[in-house]
């Protein structure tokens, strides 16, 4: 298999990108994704906006 065309399971580029970020950044992204996942099927987007604002403030005092 040429290196320019790696199968995703062997070379998860997205995970590599994520791991290049600082631990703090990784933790923030994990929390943001968890919130988004929880709110995914709710009709009110306002809840998720509030969560995101709060998380960014917490991680950037």
């Amino acid at each position: 298999m040429p290196s320019s065309d790696p199968p995703p399971r062997q070379a998860p580029r997205s995970l590599a990108l994520f791991k290049q970020a600082s631990p703090e950044m990784q933790s923030l992204i994990k929390e943001i994704m968890a919130k988004e996942r929880m709110e995914q099927h709710k009709k009110r987007r306002e809840d998720i906006y509030q969560d995101l604002l709060r998380l960014i403030r917490e991680y950037t005092p």
Binding site: P8, S14, A21, R37, Q40, E46, L52, I56, Y59
Partner: protein, 695 residues
């Protein structure tokens, strides 16, 4: 999700209480339901959809969607609030068993035009505990998370109406389905939320309120640039959609020309030539790119021949003078003088004749640095000389290949012009008209291509402008605490969004490739070998065939009719379901992505299929998804379909729909014959209704 049981109670033509248990084994995973047209196949499919999503889940082809209860009850009931319609579904998901009940009454149906219903959901957990959902809203949220409504069309479909998935103008729908089923939609939503006015702009505003006038002005400019860029991107998107639409219209004209006996031969020649033209154009582009790379990397050597000559003359002179290569190094002579002893063993007292004689050699011996420099020059001359030869040869080859391509393209263009003229001058009115329409559409396409180029440049300019403003903002030092904090927060939002965009792009690309491979694999199982189905990077499906031309084999896109499109759509859905099933094996930053087992519920999947595909699709139905529920009429369940499915040993449950009515419909069969046994599928009875009978 694996469906276990469906119970219907007074749902449209399913009068009274009836239930059906679905085949859910690993081996025997197919449930076959035989039903003649008008006997309730579509209604059955819609019963499942109503159970999961209520009124909003109905397929567009369901007649009178506002009527949930059977006509006989509607017409005779005196207590509408006591007349209940119910759909109950039991299904397994993630090791747990879910039981849902959706009910409505005739009174509610009348008051809400069928839109109002009650949903209850209970979950039997792995530990044996049963949990009841607190509210219908919570129940719906859970259902939607297990079986997102966007996937409804892909998993529960009328086979005769799914061909639209294979049309280019529906690429967005396909792309959405892929993103939703593979979990990418979550990343899309997160990025959109972060950059929405409700989040990003809030921090931008906070910064603006606490900063100096100059920074505030820059922030305003940034907002303006973001809005302008969004408008430009929208225009580009619209332009691309228009291109796809016109392209599809041209393909439709091509299909009609192909169907016309007068035009067929020329049209087929044109399709082959156009495919070759596309291939040659991209080869020419590649050729020019390589040529540019060659010139950028080694082109300078072609201008160095004078310098090379001069260098060679210098080294030649040095060699002739015996300066290089130096036989003895002067640091060696110096060492002998310092030691006061020659290598022959004689003493070299300082100032002696012998000492002076050795010292005189210092002027003749070589300086190592000079020696090295000359050696490097020698080597460089050699490298440049060979590069010059290589570059000249490569350049000659590239130019020759490019000239061949240009010449072939010119000939193709001439042939195409000739075909256009010959088709345009045909006496056949239809051909004449189609050709004239085709020409207009091609001109329109050319306009749109120019428009796309212009918009691409505008978007690039917009991006550059925004980057410049953001760079100016980034270097702004903020004195106030509030302003500095708001700035950091705004930067944080951008940092997170940008990283997520990169992750999304990489996951989309990887999963797109995986899906493409899956599509090619599934398609090769269900079709003839000389066809090939690919997923393009734009998520459109391309059906092609290899054709031999003057310049070798060319992959030609096949003009596909409804039957082909139906196969393409089925293959696409099946591949997506297969990939979703092993989604959890593919590493992702999105935790807890479950491998989704999805059932396929197919109404009339063999409807419009050509003979060449019917058998192959029937043979592969059990492998299309972990669970397949197939509704077929006797006109579809014949020949190869019956042979392949019947002998597959994968049918776990089989039912037929028996129609009760005062008189049989003229076009409907009264009997169903399966494997030598005959079943009465019509019963003279009142009121009119459908009964589910297990075979």
């Amino acid at each position: 999700m694996i469906l276990k049981k469906l119970t219907l109670e007074n749902f449209r033509q399913y009068l009274g209480r009836q239930e059906i248990i679905f085949a859910s084994g690993k081996q025997k995973n197919v449930t076959l339901i035989h039903g003649e047209n008008g006997f309730g196949k579509t209604c059955f499919l819609n019963a499942l959809l109503w159970g999961f999503y209520g009124h909003g889940g109905f397929t567009p082809d369901l007649p009178k969607p506002e009527q949930i209860l059977p006509d006989s009850i509607r017409e005779s009931s005196r207590r509408p609030e006591e007349e209940v319609a119910r759909v109950s579904i039991i299904f397994d998901h993630g090791g747990e068993t879910y039981s849902l009940n959706r009910t409505t009454t005739l009174a509610k149906e009348r008051a809400s035009k069928g839109e109002d219903s009650e949903l209850e959901l209970s979950v039997l957990k792995v530990d044996g505990q049963t949990i009841n959902c607190a509210s219908p809203r919570e129940a719906q949220r859970i259902i939607d998370s297990i079986l997102p409504p966007e996937l409804r069309e892909l998993l529960f479909f009328n086979g005769e109406r799914i061909d639209h998935l294979a049309m280019e103008q529906n690429a967005e729908e396909i792309s959405d389905a892929v993103r939703r089923m593979l979990g990418l939609k979550l990343l899309d939503d997160t990025i959109a939320d972060l950059l929405s006015p409700n989040v990003r702009n809030r921090f931008s505003q906070e910064w603006r309120n606490n900063t100096d006038e100059e920074t505030a002005q820059l922030l305003d400019e940034e907002q303006k640039a973001i809005a302008e860029l969004a408008t430009k991107r929208d225009s580009l998107e619209t332009c691309k959609k228009n291109q796809s639409a016109v392209d599809e219209e041209i393909k439709e004209i091509d299909r009609r020309l192909d169907a016309n006996r007068e035009a067929r031969e020329l049209q087929r020649r044109r399709v082959t030539l156009e495919a070759e033209q596309t291939e040659k154009q991209s080869a020419l582009k590649e050729q020019e790119k390589q040529l540019a790379e060659l010139i950028a990397a080694d082109g300078y050597t072609l201008f160095c021949t004078g310098l090379v000559r001069e260098g060679k003359e210098i080294t030649h002179e040095l060699r002739a003078a015996g300066r290089i290569p130096a036989r003895v190094m002067n640091d060696f002579i110096q060492d002998l003088l310092n030691a006061g002893k020659c290598i022959c063993g004689c003493a070299l007292p300082e100032g002696s004749e012998a000492w002076k004689s050795v010292e005189a050699q210092l002027t003749k011996a070589g300086d190592p640095e000079f020696n090295n420099a000359v050696r490097d020059l020698d080597r460089a001359i050699g490298v440049i000389e060979s590069t010059v030869t290589r570059t000249q040869e490569a350049l000659r080859r590239h130019v020759q290949d490019r000239d061949h391509l240009v010449e072939r393209l010119r000939l193709i263009r001439e042939d195409l012009d000739e075909i256009r003229e010959r088709l345009g001058s045909k006496d056949d009115q239809e051909v004449h008209q189609l050709e004239s329409d085709r020409e207009k559409k091609q001109l329109r396409l050319r306009d749109l291509d120019r428009e796309e180029g212009r918009l691409n440049t505008a978007v690039d300019d917009g991006e550059l402008k925004l980057r410049q403003i953001q760079e100016s903002l980034r270097v702004k030092q903020q004195k106030g605490v509030e302003a500095a904090r708001a700035k950091r927060r705004l930067e944080r939002v951008d940092e997170v969004a940008n990283l997520l965009k990169e992750i999304l792009a990489s996951e989309s690309e990887d999963l797109g490739k995986e899906l493409g491979k899956e599509i090619e694999r599934v398609f090769s199982r269900v079709t003839l070998q000389d066809y090939r189905l690919e997923l393009t990077p734009e998520f459109t499906l391309r059906l092609s065939k290899s054709i031999r031309t003057e310049s070798g084999l060319v992959s030609v896109e096949v003009a596909h009719g409804q039957g082909h499109r139906q196969v393409m759509s089925l293959v696409f859905i099946s591949s997506l379901v297969a990939l979703a099933q092993r989604r959890n094996e593919i590493p992702s930053i999105m935790k807890d992505l479950q491998g989704g087992d999805y059932p396929l519920v197919m109404d009339s999947p063999f409807g419009q299929l050509g003979e060449e595909f019917r058998g192959a699709i029937a043979k592969n139905v059990p492998q299309l998804a972990p669970q397949a529920i197939v509704l077929v009429s006797s006109s579809q369940y014949r020949g190869e379909v019956e042979r392949e499915l019947g002998s597959s040993n994968r049918i776990g449950r089989r039912y037929y729909l028996r129609y009760h009515a005062p008189s049989k419909r003229e076009d409907a069969a009264g009997k169903l014959t399966l494997g030598g046994s005959t079943f009465e599928i019509y019963k003279k009875d009142e009121p009119e209704h459908t009964e589910i009978v297990e075979v």
